[in-house]
Amino acid sequence: MTGPWSGVRVVEQAGLTGAYATRIWAALGAHVIVVEPPDGHPLRRLPPFAPGHAGAESSLWWAFFAQGKHSVVVEAGSDEHAHILASADVVIGDVDPALGPPQPAHDRQVVVAISPFGLSGPRQHWKGSELIAWASSGLAYTFGFPDRPPVAAATPVQFAAHVTSLYAVSAAMLGLRGVRRTGRGQVIDLSMQECCLSLAPETGVPLFLDDRVHRSRHGNRRAVSRPWGLYPCADGFVSILIVQPAHWRAMANWIAEATGVDAVLDDAFNEMHVRWEVSDFIDDLTEQLTRPRTKLEMFIEGQRRGIPTTPVNTVADLRNDPHLASAGFWRDDEHPTLGTLTGPGAPFRVNHDWWQWASAPQLGEHTAEELAAV
């Protein structure tokens, strides 16, 4: 085994809150063992499933997030489970704070204990979820349209869980550095609520304590200036974000060319707050430009003109994106039962041969080998 983290043994007993970043850690050389109950890890039961397949290997969540990991099936609390835990340098797991803080198996072990609200405080026993992480951090309150209930960010993606997993793996890496410095491990208490609070500065408490402006949800355009947000196109939506004066001058020229309305070139509109005060006027002209064009035309031509535009991509759009294809982003996973799975490869690039990938393990694939080793 090579890779920058080779030789580091990680036992993962988390759900979605650990899965994303431990996949990356495994590809960077860590030996990641997922402890599964006999009926399989919960991710094995999440749809979508590979067409024509059923059972423990068919979930595409598992097929992606378990890439490069080792599967060990043991009963929770059994001797075998204890042996596996004792062999680990790092344990990353969801914990129930009602059971008290987890106990490391040895002095040099780093334990990352993930819970909805942390291992202390009056609500430490409260149950959580992805949606509840967004709600309890003040962020769900700012997402959505005013005429409908607040929404989580990209609900199907479970983004807050992936953010939490990246904090969990970084915490473990810092903990290992602590072992090197002091010879001792530690138990790291990671709260999903706090992971989401750390994403809030643009709408959060420090700003509120400064201006006491009540920020609530206001749809897909931000209440600071115009154009700033999503605009309808012939085949979807384009995002336009005018921050700097040069962006606006390029945008105003394009609007004037497309609509014949030269009034938009007036210097008064150079100010962000003036464009905000006449939002309806600016939005109407912007939509006259965007509606007949495709999102890709708006993106390519906008960027050519020096305007920060991006397409509002769907999953299908991303699969066809010319940049991702050209940059070698996609990786074919030759899965032993599901066939070729084309999806994201390395999330970043490096000038070393760090990345190594393998398919998600079959249920219990490594049980015998891992138990024999410990």
Partner: protein, 453 residues
């Protein structure tokens, strides 16, 4: 040395002399906004010495969002009042350098010569034009961990290489905006924050820690290229597999999921008051149905398949029940019954949240500009045996120029004076009149924790 640093930062000696597991790491940041600064902020919390190179001609966009109440002040003071700045640049030191002057670049390279990590989210053409591309820095310091975070990567051969990437414009292109909101409405997007910025910053954190590990083991430096576009698309793996296999395109779903139900935000007593509820299993549903009573106990809703099929009906039943109650009351009732529920907090709610208060999430931290300190969030990663901490709010621009150039770049005071005289370096002195945030008394009334010193 560690004892001395500890004394400087904490006003006391720390047992074992460790003031964070990264107190032996020196980081140089050339960055704007959130993506790279959020990563360096985590390093600084855990003890790294993070020096931010800043220029008057091209200030970090964070400094352009000064406080509304400060607009009438001297422009230099206004720039330093931005609440983002105190938070995103906490514990960092600021050095004022004009990198477009040859001796400014030379001073930066003198800093980088002893740095362990360089992190930037300037565009690749911009850092290369400054003479701070990977090859430039590796020539003076081959063991550095160099982390570049351009929106679309550092490879000039790729189609979007030169494209502009601004935080709120990234959630749309990576697919997150189209997946946010209700399926019968326009995408709601995530207009109020920029999740891909933070997501890229978190990947950068793992990359920096991996680069340091690689260096410990091999002595080699690393060049890490993080395209925000690619980091966020990575978390869509299952849906990208699905699209490749079946052509299906996952769509936004409000607050609903295909593997549990019901889930949503429901109206409560009060102005724009909501409670979030997630029923994860059959037991959870039995408990919620018992609380609601009446038609909620219909056998049709018993199994998950029934709850998914009748989600609209369930939303009406739940909404009718919550509408007559307060969000806090519903959350407490349901949590007592073992159901995941929480108020949809606004900022006032967050400030009063029992967990947020008990765990001292918000902290009041010393600041050169604000006599009463500045208030911002702690860090999600707390290491109890080797604790990190905030020891000061983000600095004024160029607050630490002289100290940094003497201790880290090895320049003599006379050399620094000459850089300042020519305008290549600049510095800030302690303001005669220190400011105070208008609502700091409110923070006091809430008992927001003060960090030492």
């Amino acid at each position: 040395m560690h004892q001395f640093v500890a004394w400087l930062r904490r006003g006391c000696f720390v047992e074992g002399g460790i003031v964070g597991v990264l107190d032996d790491v020196f980081v140089v940041e050339l960055a704007i906004a959130i993506a790279a600064p959020s990563c360096a902020r985590a390093l600084a919390f855990h003890g790294a010495d993070v020096v931010k190179i800043e220029s008057r001609n091209n200030p970090d966009v964070m400094r352009l969002f000064g406080s509304v109440w400060a607009r009438e002040l001297d422009p230099a003071l206004y720039m330093d009042t931005s609440p983002y700045l105190g938070e995103m640049c906490a514990n960092k030191r600021s050095v004022g350098l004009d990198l477009k002057q040859p001796d400014g670049l030379a001073a930066a390279l003198a800093l980088l010569k002893s740095a362990d990590v360089f992190i930037t989210n300037y565009s690749t053409p911009a850092v290369r034009a400054l003479g701070l591309g990977y090859d430039d820095i590796a020539a003076v310091n081959p063991s550095i961990v160099y982390v570049a975070m351009p929106g679309f990567g550092s490879d000039p051969a790729q189609p979007y290489y030169e494209y502009l990437a601004w935080g709120p414009n990234q959630a749309p292109i990576v697919g997150l905006d189209a997946l946010t909101g209700y399926p019968d409405q326009e995408p709601a997007g995530i207009a109020t924050i920029a999740p891909p910025d933070y997501f890229a910053g978190l990947h950068a954190l793992t990359a920096v820690l991996t680069g340091l590990e690689h260096h410990e083991r091999t002595g080699e430096g690393s060049f890490v290229d993080i395209a925000q576009f690619e980091t966020s698309v990575s978390c869509l793996g299952p849906f990208l597999f699905d699209n490749a296999l079946t052509g299906r395109c996952e769509n936004r779903s409000g607050n609903r999921l295909s593997w549990l139900a019901p889930q949503g935000c429901y109206p409560c007593i009060g102005d724009d008051a909501w409670v979030a509820i997630t029923v994860v299993d059959d037991e959870g549903w039995t408990a919620l149905a018992a609380a609601i009573g009446g038609p909620a106990n219909d056998a049709r809703f018993g199994p998950l398949a029934g709850r998914l099929a009748h989600h609209d009906e369930l939303d009406e039943l739940i909404g009718a029940w919550t509408s007559a109650r307060t969000a806090a009351g519903v959350a407490a009732t349901l949590q007592n019954a073992g159901v995941a529920a929480y108020e949809v907090l606004d900022n006032v709610g967050v400030l009063h949240d029992p967990q947020v208060r008990d765990r001292h999430w918000f902290q009041r931290v010393a600041s050169m500009r604000f006599a009463d300190g500045d208030v911002f969030g702690s860090h999600p990663i707390q290491l109890p045996e080797t604790p990190g901490s905030w020891w000061r709010a983000g600095p004024s621009m160029a607050e630490d120029t002289v100290e940094v150039l003497t201790t880290r770049a090895g320049l003599a005071l006379i050399e620094i004076d000459s850089l300042i005289a020519s305008g290549t370096a600049f510095t800030t002195t302690q303001p005669e009149q220190r400011l105070s945030r208008p609502y700091i008394d409110y923070a006091d009334a809430l008992g927001i924790h003060r960090t030492a010193p």
